[in-house]
Amino acid sequence: MEKTVTGTAHGHGHAHEHEHAHELGFWRKYVFSVDHKVIGIQYAITGLLFLLFGFTLMMIMRFQLAYPGHPIPLIGNWFGADKAPGGIMLPEFYNQLGAMHGTIMVFLGVVPLAVGGFGNFVMPLQIGAPDMAFPKLNMMSYWVYFLGGVTMLASFFVPNGAAQSGWTSYPPLAIIASQGQTFWLIGMVFLITSSLLGSINFIVTIVQLRAKGLSYMRLPFFVWAQLVTSFLLLLAFPPLEAAGVLQLMDRLAGTSFFLPSGLMVSQKPLAVAGGGNPLLWQHLFWFLAHPEVYVLILPAMGIVSEIIANNTRKPLWGYRALVYAIVFLGFMSFIVWAHHMFMTGMGTTISAFFQVTTMIISIPSVVILTALLLSLWGASIRFTTPMLFALAFLPMFGIGGLTGLPLGLAPSDIHLHDTYYVIGHFHYVVAPGTIFALFAGVYYWFPKATGRKMNDLLGKIHFWGSFICINSVFMPMFIQGLGGMNRRMYDGGMQYAHNAGLLHWNVVIGFAAWGLGLFQIPFIINFFSSIKWGALVDRNPWEATTLEWSAPSPPGHGNFLTEPIVYRGAYEYSVPGAAKDFTPQFEPERA
């Protein structure tokens, strides 16, 4: 291989460590790149932008809920007469925002950032691979994801607007809905294809490209999390693809897979053959969407484990238990899906089965959370910015998980289903849970990606502001939900008497949500300014033990300067008798 020394491409001392087979042009290097690090960063930035966009939709919805019937300030006139005449939101537009908020946050924001971004950037480095096993496929999966995102965004501009049947797209409503739903389905087919290509690539890379000496039980926990996540994506997404094809057939070819006989729409019988089953969609959808919940949470657990081990300067407590728990969790996540469907009348026998499996799956989740909590015991913790986010993840995920138990049991679920309690529950898992872990990951691996550290003061403002605001958003939802307030009401449900004492919380939640938006500004400033002005760092600024910290910061094409060899487990911190409080995986044994 021809080796050339590049100039001061990054303006600091590590440029000489870069190694290139040949110089690539701008397009091949930054846009149509096959380098897993560039693709990871592309995924991460696109994902962050979609998170911001999805959150903006929610801030608009929160105004409508806090002040129903008032014109939306500042931006109200942008939406046009078919969405918000005079700036006052129409119910149909509220439904579009709700459906697209869910879709964007899950499929275009969190998963691309957690799996596409962190998985792509960090995982090959952590296993000592020069790149992913199939670099071109990797590039393709990003661009297919991008196409899916564009399709979803475009759907806002078709007649009657974007999909408005919820992120779950339940038929028959989704089938008789306007064109936006077709865009949603086509967008989903793109996204499913993208994650299919990605997950194959991830599994092959982890199985085949592990460095010499890196046995499965020496893998960093983050890699385990990515491996299990990839299996979930690989096996759970195809049934949704099938369901998407069937719904497209129903919408475009006039079939009735999900339309029962004798269906009336606006007092008129629908002119279809009938004989279909709306519950079939729900089964196929939740067969994906429950594992999808674990796709959202497992990478977050992986990130948090890395950061906790590093900042407690102790080995993870119960590494093997963590690994067995996460594998078991992945397996169980395929047989709990119908606990989303206790209200559908599918029968008590099926409900009983899924209650039992749901209770069983809580065990490995508790094992993981307990192991992470016990890892803190007796440690002299470094309260760095990533560690603050990682520490916040533990109680936030705990609240999210524990409030899920009443939803896993049919009798209590029947009371709580489709109230704000459910929204509070799953947001505690995904928003202050997963998204906090993702922020932790951004702060933690930013030095590896750029060679510079992010600012600590801005980071701490970001953390404390977000932490207070996000809890003020979701905690009141439990109060509203337990009081029986239904979700998906465009005015919050003003016509119901039992909501009268609960609606004022919407103003509190509204201000907390907008405050949460404001507290993201320090992060955005920090992110961009640190690329240029952040403090320069060496290879291993956090004094960590895993392999990615043996590569230059940022790593060049091909990642490692010499072939990495692994000598020990992933978390050898504070080994008795060692000279330093960390013994990296890549450090040879001394005689």
Partner: protein
Amino acid sequence: MEIPYTVEPRPDTGLANGKLGIWLFLASEVMLFGALFSTYILLRVGAVEWPHGELSVTLGAINTVILICSSVTMVVAWAKLKMNDFAKGRLYVLVTVALAAVFLVNKYFEYAEHFSKGEVPSHSTFFAIYYTLTGLHGLHIIGGILVMLYLAGPGAGLWKRNPEQFANRVEYTGLYWHFVDLVWIFLFPVLYLL
């Protein structure tokens, strides 16, 4: 920079990257068709009456034979390449393409016949699932044809540079092709006979 184990298998796993990749892909395909077969079962169990004898068993049986033959020619193509006979190997890939094309032509006549009788997808749940399953299967056939044409045409230059890798590609395509064949072997009894 080179990605390790693209051609030679990794000693401790016994697999080259591509082979593991294609098996994982097939696993996801099993889930895709599995979901559609489950749909079929659920719709049929829930139906008041289910039509019988709507499809031509003769045409279906002929197509079954054609696909099984094409699986055989695919294996022969790989075996010839392994025996270092590139010309024969490519010939058998092209024979497979030809058989696949005959399958599609046959399928076209079947579809056209039903369409002319007004038996379109919206006609009944049976035809809806029939067109969805066979249509998706047909797309898989077309995908296989495109890959094989690439291997026999523009992709054949790889044989000169790296015969091992070329033979591997034919093998992986073969694995996919057998899967497509296998799906049909389930489709034929489920749709035509039962």
